[in-house]
């Protein structure tokens, strides 16, 4: 049966999936309807808790306990299954562990998941996992199945597929594993591929590769693609149609151009706004002008940091030492905010931690000049001597859950630096903490509660309150917004900008997300494999990058504007030596 482009492959009608526990019933999916068409891509977009993942799992009827499909239908059209006889099937009515739904999974509808490392069995070869998928649904012997697996791996552009088929998942990088999972999903040529945030855990450049791969495979196989994501840029890049989900419901759906140009629902508008606002420099930041003649607060020269391999009688593996930072140099003026952008392994986090001497640099100088005082080389100080400097240089962490001691109240957490530096105690301490909490937008009555009572965004504010408690001069923000939903990012960044104004702070903003940097920073340094490859004004680096790596990075970032699709060609970066 040949389908033509646009034919309906799957219809979700009025689906509701509930999670029923002793205490409450959570309506994870609430009367959701979607349509998936042959050759077209539907992006289901929403923030965490919107129900998009549960919807995907409901389609395949693999919702984990205690969830179950309460009402609704999932109609699969034009299946090639013998027992269906060519008629549409309601997947939601099939028994979740029965034989019939199993003939659908992997064959008519396939699914790939977010974390490729955790989603493939660590003790089986890639080949055996793909062959299993083949032999479940097609009559082939071992040799034929293996040959098909090799061919599939080649089609997803994994190098040396005949060797890759006998390799284990841990031997591959994240991007390669995702390709292997895609190969496994497509090997039986399903009509619909559901992709649940497949690129969220990948670097921007790897993400671009995978998106391109998916588009190619779609034009090759013609399957319908349901792509779940929270990233509006990705949506703009690949979607034909968009469904926006919020708290279990589809609040808006339509063609991608219409959604981006004229969103109807307030939630969609807010979502788009919070993404688009980061496309430009914040007006708060624009308003600031650096005082002419501002002195240099931080001057880093030739900073190097080397992680030694484990020494001992026997080496555990053939790896040598890792040079995490290599001759890094930059300077920061007082009142300026400098962004450090890079992908995983670039060394940006290591840089932030070395500046604060949480990690020990192996070479170089870090000259720090306080408002009142002479420049001091922090790298040359003995470790115990850092304490007074940590009053002036503070850190905001990435993970709002792990950076607050779950066994201390807010008062104790925010008051910790005030106590340790002898700034205040007793009722004076409480007063100061209350003021700080108000400043970052928290209610002071809650100061005796514990962190687990607060949401992610609120916890990040607690972290900020802790950071400004001692009136510092420099704040290093290490991926401060990466763990937060998109709609919150602008809020937190605005808070940081306001505080910067008020307290005359200088910032080092570390992020893998260039829109954050573009929004907030005056200058940006691009890092790759431990080196700064380019540094300059944010505007010029983003609009007119010079270094080939920066060019490839900027070109790989999906823009949240569907009209720009395919206009800017993607540049691949080939460093000297193997890629």
């Amino acid at each position: 049966m040949t389908e033509t482009d646009g034919d309906i492959v799957l219809e979700v009608r009025d689906l509701s999936t509930w999670f029923e526990t002793r205490h409450e019933t959570v309506k994870a999916v609430d009367h959701v309807s979607l349509t998936l068409r042959h050759g077209r891509t539907l992006c289901v977009v929403g923030e965490s808790g919107s129900g998009k993942s549960v919807t995907a799992r409901s389609i395949l009827n693999i919702v984990p306990k205690p969830g179950r499909i309460v009402t609704g239908q999932v109609i699969l059209h034009n299946s090639t299954l013998e027992w269906a006889g060519g008629k549409p099937i309601d997947l939601a009515a099939l028994h979740p562990r029965g034989r019939r739904i199993r003939t659908v999974r992997g064959r008519e509808i396939a699914m790939i998941f977010q974390e490729p490392m955790a989603s493939l069995s660590p003790v089986h070869t890639i080949g055996s996992q793909i062959v299993e998928a083949i032999r479940l649904h097609r009559r082939m012997n071992q040799a034929e199945a293996r040959a098909l697996a090799v061919e599939m791996l080649d089609r997803v552009r994994i190098p040396r597929p005949s060797q890759a088929v006998d390799s284990y998942p841990f031997e591959f990088s994240g991007g390669m594993r995702q390709r292997a999972m895609t190969a496994m999903a497509l090997v039986c040529e399903p009509k619909l591929l559901i992709a649940d945030e497949p690129t969220t855990a990948l670097d921007v450049t790897t993400q671009a590769e995978i998106l391109e791969l998916m588009k190619n495979l779609q034009s090759l196989y013609g399957m319908a693609l349901m792509f779940i994501t929270h990233d509006m840029g990705v949506v703009a890049e690949i979607a034909d149609e968009v469904a926006v989900m919020h708290q279990g419901r589809v609040v808006e759906h339509g063609p991608v151009n219409a959604i981006f140009a004229a969103p109807q629902h307030p939630y969609t508008q807010r979502l788009l706004n919070s993404v688009l606002v980061l496309e430009r420099r914040s007006h708060r930041a624009l308003g600031r002008s650096l005082r002419p003649g501002a002195d240099t607060i931080l001057d880093v020269e030739n900073l190097g940091m080397r992680f030694d391999s484990r020494r001992g009688l026997f080496r555990t593996s053939g790896e040598g030492a890792v040079q995490a930072l290599d001759s890094v140099a930059f300077s920061l003026a007082r009142g300026e905010s400098l962004g450090i952008v890079g992908e995983s392994g670039s060394g940006k986090t290591t840089l932030g931690r070395c500046v604060l001497r949480i990690l020990e640099p192996t070479s170089g100088r870090i000259r720090f000049k306080r408002r009142s005082g002479e420049p001091v080389d922090l790298a040359a100080l003995p470790a115990p001597a850092m304490k007074p400097y940590w009053q002036a240089m503070r850190l905001i962490f990435q993970d709002p859950f792990a950076s607050l001691n779950p066994r201390m109240t807010l008062l104790q957490i925010i008051g910790e630096p005030l106590r340790n530096y002898g700034v205040a105690s007793g009722s004076e301490l409480e007063h100061r903490v209350a003021t700080l909490m108000q400043r970052v937008g928290l209610s002071p009555e809650t100061m005796r509660r514990y962190p687990h009572a607060f949401s992610g965004g609120q916890r990040q504010r607690i972290g900020i309150a802790r950071a400004i408690a001692l009136k510092p001069e420099l704040i290093v923000a290490d991926e401060a917004t990466s763990a937060l939903d998109v709609s919150l990012r602008a809020q937190i960044l605005d808070l940081l900008l306001d505080l910067g104004h008020e307290l005359e702070l200088s910032y080092i903003i570390i992020s893998h997300d260039i829109s954050v940097i573009r929004y907030m920073c005056d200058r940006v340094a691009v890092m790759h494999r431990g080196r700064i490859v380019e540094i300059g004004e944010t505007g010029s680096v983003c609009d007119d990058p010079q270094h080939p790596y920066t060019r490839s990075l900027i070109s790989a970032i999906p823009k949240p504007d569907p009209r720009q699709r395919g206009r800017t060609g993607r540049i691949r970066y080939q460093p000297n030596g193997a890629n």
Partner: protein, 384 residues
């Protein structure tokens, strides 16, 4: 049941929202208690444990007889049932606790005594009966026991008698004190060793960690009983019982510290890299403040769980040693010493109540294991 939509981790509402969850103001202790309560077996076992330790504390008062009081007339006498009510002359039911006496026949051929419980003979039993003066905890002189025969010299063997006519119940009650406390003392020593070595190992890392880890692995890989036996056998048999007791405890703890050290080290290692520990350091906290104020609360609950799981090992070990005659010696009474009587298969065949101390061991260890399991589940109340 309330139906609601899933809460997002983002908050699209204005910043000063009400915190989520009813447990917002609960401290760690409270959350742990809530979690522990859910484990029903652990709750039941906790009550059982409290009763056992109360028994250990007040054994002199609770036991009807002294553990060394013997009576050759009643060797291997079977257990007597305690009846609470009796019919008086008028046929009415009155509260008159009593036990039935024995009819003794002597088998002329085997020269063995056989006891049959004779319900015509009644020995009245009372609460708070007068008794020989005895010392409670070696300090207070008391003259009353909780329960005992009203007429001095009457037999009351609620759990039977042993080879010398000694009351099993009294002996088991006295044995509770030794068996349960040897576990505690041994575990305390193990704990100190384990915390110090595990802490050093996890905190400093590097070659200190390497050496301590290899030592732990090595000690764990050795079969414990042969080593205990070897160490115990090396003790001179003419030492006073208390010194032997202390030596045994030390021997037990020398081998038991390793699992505690591993737990402490593991927690230290995982905590060391936690962001909030780094944050504390950047907040200017000194090393000792970091360890005791910031890290310790995170692993104290795990330590407590491990400790309560380590005590049964000590109890079982002491029981085994004493059973073999290489641990505590009579006249010290522990459950293991009592079980020495059960080594003789012929004896058990005719007097199966000699197993009773073993039942006590099983109950105590079961209770400790359940409580430890419950504590381990409750140790990390933030684990979703």
């Amino acid at each position: 049941m309330t139906a609601r939509s899933p809460a997002a981790t983002g908050d699209p509402l204005p910043p000063d929202t009400v915190p989520l969850g009813p447990a917002g103001s609960s401290s760690q202790l409270r959350l742990m208690w809530v979690q522990f309560k859910r484990h029903r077996m652990a709750m039941v076992s906790a009550i059982v444990l409290i009763m056992i330790y109360l028994t250990a504390a007040f054994c002199e008062f609770l036991a009807p007889f002294s553990p060394i009081a013997f009576n050759p007339r009643y060797t291997y006498a079977p257990p007597q049932q305690l009846h609470l009510f009796d019919r008086d002359a008028a046929g009415q039911l009155v509260f008159m606790p009593h036990v039935n006496g024995y009819k003794v026949t002597i088998d002329p051929v085997a020269l063995r005594r056989t006891f049959i419980v004779d319900d015509k003979v009644k020995h009245p039993v009372g609460l708070f009966v007068a008794s020989e003066p005895y010392q409670m905890w070696g300090l207070i002189t008391l003259r009353r026991k909780l329960i005992g025969p009203l007429v001095k010299g009457d037999p009351m063997y609620l759990l039977g008698a042993d080879r010398l006519g000694r009351d099993m119940l009294s002996r088991i009650l006295y044995g509770t004190r030794i068996s349960m406390t040897i576990g505690l003392i041994g575990v305390t020593l193990s704990l100190v060793l384990g915390i110090v070595l595990g802490g050093l190992s996890g905190y400093y890392g590097g070659w200190i960690d390497h050496i301590i880890q290899r030592t732990i692995e090595f000690v764990l890989s050795l079969p414990t009983t042969p080593l205990w036996l070897g160490l115990a056998a090396a003790m001179p048999t003419n030492w006073p019982p208390l010194r032997i007791y202390l030596c045994i405890t030390i021997i037990l703890s020398l081998i038991g510290w390793t699992s505690l050290a591993r737990v402490v080290r593991g927690r230290f290692l995982s905590l060391r890299t936690e962001d909030f520990v780094t944050a504390a350091r950047l907040d200017g906290a000194g090393e000792s403040r970091i360890i005791f104020r910031h890290m310790a609360p995170s692993f104290i609950s795990h330590i407590i769980a491990e400790v309560s799981l380590a005590i049964p090992g000590m109890i079982l070990a002491e029981t085994a040693l004493s059973f073999l005659g290489l641990g505590l010696q009579p006249p010290m009474v522990s459950w293991g010493v009592l079980l020495q009587e059960a080594q003789n298969i012929r004896a058990i065949a005719t007097a199966p109540w000699l197993f009773a101390p073993g039942v006590a061991v099983v109950i105590a260890v079961l209770a400790l294991n359940f409580v430890g399991d419950g504590l381990r589940d409750a140790a990390d109340p933030y684990r979703q």
